[in-house]
């Protein structure tokens, strides 16, 4: 087939053969990867600015202006975390929950509403930065987002509305997932809500362990919910709490901005900055230490069982550990406030250091269980999904200890707010750990979601894998080294102060950008431009499940 013909028609993809569930999944996936490209571009712009004067020959002067630079820095995580990661994770889970529970999704309309709300919300937040240069950063430290002497009130309102759209979309996802899990149809026709709740919280796993220690029969041999669904169930609790906090903070900012628009100056000191910081970090940290770690653990378990075709090693321990992880995730936010002298020392010590250190245990356990499950099934073929899974494990193997190291009162004094935090920890966790896990899921789900569409090129997939892995680790490493040299993370450096580290980070960042372009090209060549458009056309087949006999529903 000629190049042009493949570009238009793809390999053997037929969008008309897709049902409603497959289409809504693919719509969100497409948006997620488009936002990923945008976020990679934003990252490269900021990196180029940090390279220093030489970069002025390559990128426009405006990027060096603080208003412009920090407006990019503000939307960079919004587009990356919500526009891309949330969309991708939500899409995968809204497909997987019906697939794994063998029930239809509660509502495809609601799933469409979710990706639309998150997409529109992300675009609104981006517009507020692009047009009005609203730049309080994602941390929204009080009272900066309400500082109308520095920022446009209208820009702030548009930004907050955008965030509110994203959170409303998130609530839609949560409702859809729980409504599907608790629906008493198909295999769950005779299950009670109590049984599903016990399984969802992993209590059955814990009871099985206790009974085993007592030498009794297991509480249940066939838990009501599969382990990955348990992880989705648990992680979604944190997703809910996190959305409530972010939406709450947004409403607070909105009240001040609307008052300003009406000519009334509300007193910003009415809100205690440190208390607000505690509240906001409690919620925001649930994204990182709650839903990401729990969702990721669940994804590893799912991928390991699908890749090996075998049962998960120590499944009951894994079920019980997910419960522990949920509790831990609610009590670790103080590690973000170790540099705040007004924060009580006991909170720093217990929440910031000791409970946070538990994450080494919970994530280490997930790593162990996944690796042993894979090991017991050897020899395995080194498929794309296995490669990406190993990449994801390596990413968290690097990023989680980096987090534990910095969540220490001694280290934090010289690492807080430096590029170490955002590079060696956050970017490696997200780009290498999370995204490689998600790419593994993409390759596992690809035949299911596209009705066995042939991938255009495995060579391109391989090239993407290596460039993403090396680019991600390299960029994070050099950002981290810049942090150790004293480079701050929320700072503008226009004179190339950390030139070498930033040049190296830019080089590896370019690899990431090229890797994304290769991946996108491979996918477009597989589904074709016609197929890509077709994904967004209404599905003729309204089925909201996959692989189910209609009689079972």
């Amino acid at each position: 087939m000629s190049f042009v013909k493949t570009l238009i028609h793809g390999t053997n993809f037929d969008h008309k053969s897709l049902n409603a569930l497959q289409k809504v999944t693919l719509r969100a996936v497409v948006m997620a990867f488009l936002f990923y490209g945008l976020v990679a571009l934003e990252g490269m712009i900021m990196r180029m600015v940090s390279v220093g004067p030489q970069a002025r020959r390559i990128i426009p002067e405006e990027f060096f202006h603080p208003d412009h630079f920090f407006s990019i820095m503000t939307v960079h995580p919004i587009v990356g975390i919500f526009g891309s990661t949330y969309q991708l994770v939500f899409a995968a889970f809204m497909f997987l929950v019906p697939y794994l529970t063998k029930k239809p999704l509660y509502s495809v309309k609601l799933a469409n509403f979710v990706w639309l709300m998150i997409t529109i919300g992300t675009i609104l937040a981006w517009i507020s930065a692009f047009v009005w240069q609203y730049a309080p950063l994602y941390t929204l430290y009080w009272p900066l987002p309400a500082d109308t002497t520095q920022f446009s009130t209208i820009g702030g309102i548009v930004f907050i509305i955008g965030i509110a759209f994203i959170m409303i979309g998130t609530f839609g996802f949560i409702y859809n997932v729980y409504a599907t899990i608790f629906a008493r149809v198909g295999v769950h026709k005779n299950k009670t809500t109590k049984e599903l709740l016990i399984s969802g919280f992993g209590i059955d796993g814990l009871l099985n362990l206790i009974n085993k220690l007592k030498g009794k029969e297991p509480y249940t041999k066939e838990p009501a919910l599969a382990l990955p669904v348990v992880a989705i169930f648990r992680g979604t609790v944190d997703t809910f709490l996190d959305a409530v906090v972010i939406l709450g903070a947004g409403i607070l900012v909105l009240v001040y901005l609307l008052a300003d628009l009406g000519g009334v100056q509300l007193d910003v000191t009415a809100i205690d900055a440190l208390l607000y910081k505690n509240f906001f970090w409690w919620g925001l940290d649930l994204v990182a230490d709650g839903l990401v770690l729990i969702y990721v653990a669940g994804s590893w378990y799912l991928l390991a069982t699908l890749i090996t075709g075998q049962k998960l090693f120590m499944e009951n321990v894994a079920r019980a550990a997910l419960m522990l992880e949920l509790l831990v995730s609610w009590m670790v936010w103080s590690h973000h406030l170790l540099g705040d002298q007004g924060q009580p020392e006991m909170m720093k010590l217990i929440s910031g250091e000791m409970v946070t250190a538990f994450e080494l245990l919970t994530q280490g356990l997930a790593l162990f269980i996944t690796l042993v499950t894979l090991w017991k099934a050897r020899p395995l073929k080194m498929t794309m999904e296995l490669k990406y899974l190993l990449g994801g494990l390596a990413g968290f193997g690097l990023a989680v200890p980096a987090a534990i190291i910095q969540a220490d009162m001694g280290m934090n004094r010289v690492l807080h707010n430096t590029q170490w935090i955002i590079g060696a920890h956050v970017h490696i966790a997200l780009i290498v750990g999370l995204y490689m896990t998600l790419y593994s899921a993409v390759y596992v789900l690809w035949p299911l979601v596209t009705n066995n569409t042939k991938l255009y090129s495995y060579k391109l997939s391989n090239t993407h894998f290596w460039m993403h892995l090396i680019g991600g680790i390299g960029m994070g490493a050099f950002m981290g080294m810049a942090g150790l040299d004293g480079m701050l993370r929320r700072h503008l450096y226009v004179n190339g102060e950390f030139n070498f580290d930033m040049l190296m980070a830019a080089g590896f960042g370019t690899m990431l950008l090229i890797a994304w372009a290769i991946f996108l090209f491979n996918i477009i060549m597989s589904v074709g431009l016609k197929g890509l458009v077709g994904i967004f056309l209404p599905a003729k087949d309204k089925t909201a499940s996959y692989g189910l006999d209609p009689e079972d529903m």
């Binding site: 202006h65 920090f70 430290y141 520095q150 080494l360 200890p401 001694g410 707010n417 040299d485 004293g486």
Partner: protein, 196 residues
């Protein structure tokens, strides 16, 4: 073993974390290679409970290690009960510092109390060496106490800077120059170690 300043600590950290990174990447690579081999055998058997004990020891031991080797940890926790050689008060408002003096000179080994008040936004307080490396920092929240005790053991000249973003007004809107940076603000003299 005691780290007397951030340079020593960060150098140690750099080496330790680089070794760890190389190790974990090698293990995953070795693991991946052996997954595909028919006759691959375990080189070492890691019992589950030993592995968990190792993680617990790592998580807790790290804090015990830093508490005993980094002097500013215990000093920070008990700072309100400790005496100091001098207290310097700072105020920040509208992205501008009100400094206790144009320049501060500190004798080697002196313990200084830095007390910073913000009148509007959240800022940071950080001291940086001439090579850009950070000596220490803290957050500066409006409405809260922002005080820190610091003992200097090495000669150096430090720049003062805000380590927290407080809006683009911290910078010159056209050149991007950092308006909150105070060059050569603090000098430590009289030590045997450090820049002369």
């Amino acid at each position: 073993m005691t780290f007397t300043n951030s340079l020593e600590l960060l150098s140690f950290h750099w080496v330790a974390y680089t070794i760890y990174s190389a190790l974990i990447l090698s293990i995953i690579a070795w693991f991946g290679y052996n997954l595909t081999r028919e006759k691959a055998k375990s080189v070492v058997r890691i019992p589950f409970y030993w592995y968990m004990a190792f993680l617990v020891a790592g998580g807790v031991g790290h804090h015990i290690f830093t508490y005993n080797t980094i002097p500013w940890v215990s000093q920070d926790i008990s700072r309100h009960d400790l005496s100091n050689d001098a207290t310097y008060k700072f105020t920040i408002q509208k992205h501008k510092w009100t400094l206790p003096a144009e320049k501060i000179v500190v004798q080697c080994g002196q313990t200084i109390n830095f007390d910073v008040v913000s009148k509007d936004l959240i800022y940071g307080f950080g001291l940086f060496r001439q090579d850009g490396s950070m000596a220490m920092q803290m957050q500066v929240n409006p409405g809260s106490a922002n005080d820190i005790l610091w003992t200097f053991h090495h000669n150096a000249v430090f720049d003062l800077d805000s380590t927290e973003y407080a809006g683009p007004a911290m910078y010159d809107r056209h050149t991007g120059e950092n308006l909150m940076k105070v060059k050569n603000f603090l000098e430590v003299v009289g030590c045997e170690k450090g820049a002369k």
